[in-house]
Amino acid sequence: MDLILVNLIDGLVTGLLLFMLSAGLTLIFSMMGVLNFAHASFYMLGAYFAYQISLALGFWMGLLIAPIVVGVLGAGVERYGLRRVHQYGHVPELIFTFGLALLIEEMVQFVWGKNQMAYSVPEVLNFTAFAISGNSIPAYKIFMIFTSIAIFIGLLYILTKTRVGMIIQAALSYPRTVEALGHNVPLIFMGVFGVGTALAGLAGVIAGPVLGTFPGMAFVLGSIVFVTIVIGGLGSLWGALVASLLIGWITTFAKSYNIEMEDVLNSIGISTPENLSDSVFRDFWSLTSPQIADILPYILMVLILIFRPAGLFGKRQS
């Protein structure tokens, strides 16, 4: 029971972190209809910038400044890159963001090298918040949870209650009409892209100290973020939230409970073959849940795409 609670908290942290990335990505998708492959790269840039700033000004300034810098950079990419490629069609757009992801990774290696950075949790938050039967929960995790929730509430408020939010929502569905009403739609697009990437940057700032700040960090999380928004339904904010939490919990639980395929198969009535070590399927029989924890989201995505192509909360077909 206690272990379940610990896992719930860990899964929540992972899930909310994923959500900070997937929220921006899904907003950008519903607006421009393009999946930004470089989204996780902005997450990585957030961590690196925050590390660099924290060396000079401390963690909190990094938390404040790095996302803004990333957001400005993101807006620049939209203005001078994506908008140009947009005229060639969707496939070149996807390819462009894919190339951008490669390029950003190379640039990060160019500037900071291949090793992990010594970006760490600030002193103030470096203590144990509470313990559940011997499993200590660090205060930083609680901080991550609260930051993410605050972001979500803020985002929801802006999108549903403010004028800017209304215009954005309208621009998502009827860009032409909104443009005819005198709003600068390209500017809105650029702004949303900037905010989306800034959110990714913020996620990087707070995840960098716990998950590690290294050139592969975008790659590790990148495809999972896609999987998340595809599962949740492209363009759906609620879908992104549900899918993020789902993936956070599934992977955490799969890693922490060692469920073996042999037991599962036995329990549904399939008995272990006599000489297992000679069988072609020996690897299949000896599968354990921690082994496949990281590919569970992909399995889930492929299943969802086969049986419910629009995703859990998706409305529109691409």
Binding site: V85, L102, E106, V230
Partner: protein
């Protein structure tokens, strides 16, 4: 997606280009006879060049590079059956080549069976396994093109790549699977011990595969792949199921990817997780796009250029992936037609007999531009050395010159070369543009 008025849909450039490459006044019969010789000529020339190339490049490392090039060409052409001809963007295409390759490795290790077949037909098995996998995955992934297809391809790609460490029996875990090609039945006495023998095997398959893929694009299903790419709805109202057309393209692409994988297995005698992962899939996308997806020969040029670039650059700089990434992004942004698109841009000027007028303006602009870019690259290399070289290591070698990267002079020289080179290019660019317009206008002085 709604279909907008095609009058506004066709990019300006594409129209002009196609308009001039096809001559409306030609009667059909003559056209066909003419195009037969026209289409056969490049194939014959390419085959002859490939056969005689080893006479000029005799050492084994060159042969290795040429083999690698051939494999990449087959793979890129197969990939373009989807991307260019079918409009389907796959992010996990390495798995079809990889699985084909792994299957071939296993056949190599089944000595009882392997002894009875000549090595030359091994790639067929690779193709069949690649095709088998494509039949399974395609059955659900080709329902739609666009984003959903791309995402499924990514998911399946990641899934199979991840399986390579889990399903050790087939993928061999981290060490991969290795074998020995020479255990096959000798083929007219050839045992494929030497690199040159493998070279001829590889190019034979290259020519066969490329020709088959070209012919595929001329068949009813190949033509409809284009139609479905451009306008799936119209194709449906012509009696064709867009999904089945895509599915057939996907299967065919899987087959030729598997052939490429089989050739890889024969050449390197080992396959690992690297043959399956997203990075390999990314490389083939890069190669294909660099070459140009709009023309059949685009991926061929892309594969040749990329392999040469990779060989030259990766020997001389650590930053090779950085340059490749930059080149890739620049291609997408400024030359979405790729190298093939750039070449075909010049066809109108040639037809008008005005291409020679472009030579001097090109030299005046592109030469300084290239020198400026080399200067920029030098600055990048020096910055990298300055930041990342071990403390005390101040010497670096660049363009056959060894100097101290912590002194000011080299920086000034590199900076000056960059500014002057790019500056001249910028100044001469307008006259190049003028010459370009002149060369593409019918009539006039010449």
């Amino acid at each position: 997606m709604t279909v907008s008025d095609p009058k506004h849909d066709v990019p300006e450039g594409a129209r002009e280009k196609d308009q001039i490459t096809t001559d409306p006044s030609n009667p059909s019969e003559r056209m066909r006879a003419g195009s037969m010789t026209l289409t056969l000529a490049p194939w014959v020339i390419a085959t002859v060049v490939l056969i005689f190339l080893p006479m000029f490049f005799t050492n084994n490392s060159t042969l290795t590079i040429m083999n690698q090039m051939s494999i990449t060409i087959v793979f890129a052409l197969a990939y373009n059956m989807l991307l260019g001809q079918g409009g389907m963007l796959s992010f996990g295409h390495a798995v079809y080549a990889g699985v084909g390759g792994f299957a071939c490795m296993h056949i190599m290790n089944m000595s009882d069976f392997f002894e009875t077949i000549p090595l030359v037909i091994l790639p067929v098995f690779g193709g069949l396994f690649g095709m088998g996998l494509a039949m399974i995955v395609g059955s659900f992934s080709t329902r739609s093109a666009g984003t959903v297809f791309a995402m499924i391809s990514l998911g399946v790609g990641e899934l199979i790549a991840a399986c390579s460490v889990i399903i050790v029996a087939f993928f061999g875990g981290e060490e991969g699977i290795s074998g020995d090609r020479t255990y096959a039945q000798p083929f007219f006495g050839v045992e494929f011990l030497q690199q040159i023998e493998v070279y001829y095997l590889t190019i034979a398959w290259l020519v066969i595969s490329a020709a088959l893929m070209y012919l595929w694009s001329r068949t009813p299903v190949g033509r409809m792949a284009n139609a479905v790419r451009d306008n799936p709805e119209r194709a449906q109202f012509l009696g064709y199921s867009a999904r089945w057309v895509r599915y057939y393209s996907f299967i065919a692409s899987g087959f030729f990817c598997g052939i490429a994988g089989g050739l890889f297995a024969i050449n390197y005698e080992i396959l690992t997780e690297e043959n399956l992962n997203t990075a390999s899939s990314g490389v083939i996308l890069l190669v294909t796009f660099l070459g140009g997806v709009g023309f059949f020969f685009g991926p061929i040029i892309g594969a040749i250029a990329f392999t040469l670039l990779q060989t030259v650059l990766s020997l001389s700089t650590e930053l090779w992936a950085f340059y490749a990434g930059t080149l890739f992004v620049a291609t997408v942004m400024f030359f979405p037609g790729g190298l093939a698109g750039l070449i075909m841009m010049h066809v109108p000027a040639f037809k008008l007999g005005k291409a020679s007028g472009l030579v001097m303006p090109y030299i005046k602009t592109l030469l300084p531009g290239a020198i400026g870019l080399l200067g920029l690259a030098a600055l990048v290399e020096m910055t990298f050395h300055f930041r990342h070289a071990a403390t005390g290591d101040v010497e670096m070698t660049l363009f056959w010159t060894t100097f101290n990267s912590h002194e000011v002079l080299p920086w000034i020289i590199a900076g000056a070369v960059t500014v002057i080179g790019l500056g001249i290019a910028k100044v001469t660019a307008p006259s190049l543009k003028e010459a370009w317009n002149e060369a593409n206008t019918a009539g006039g002085a010449s």
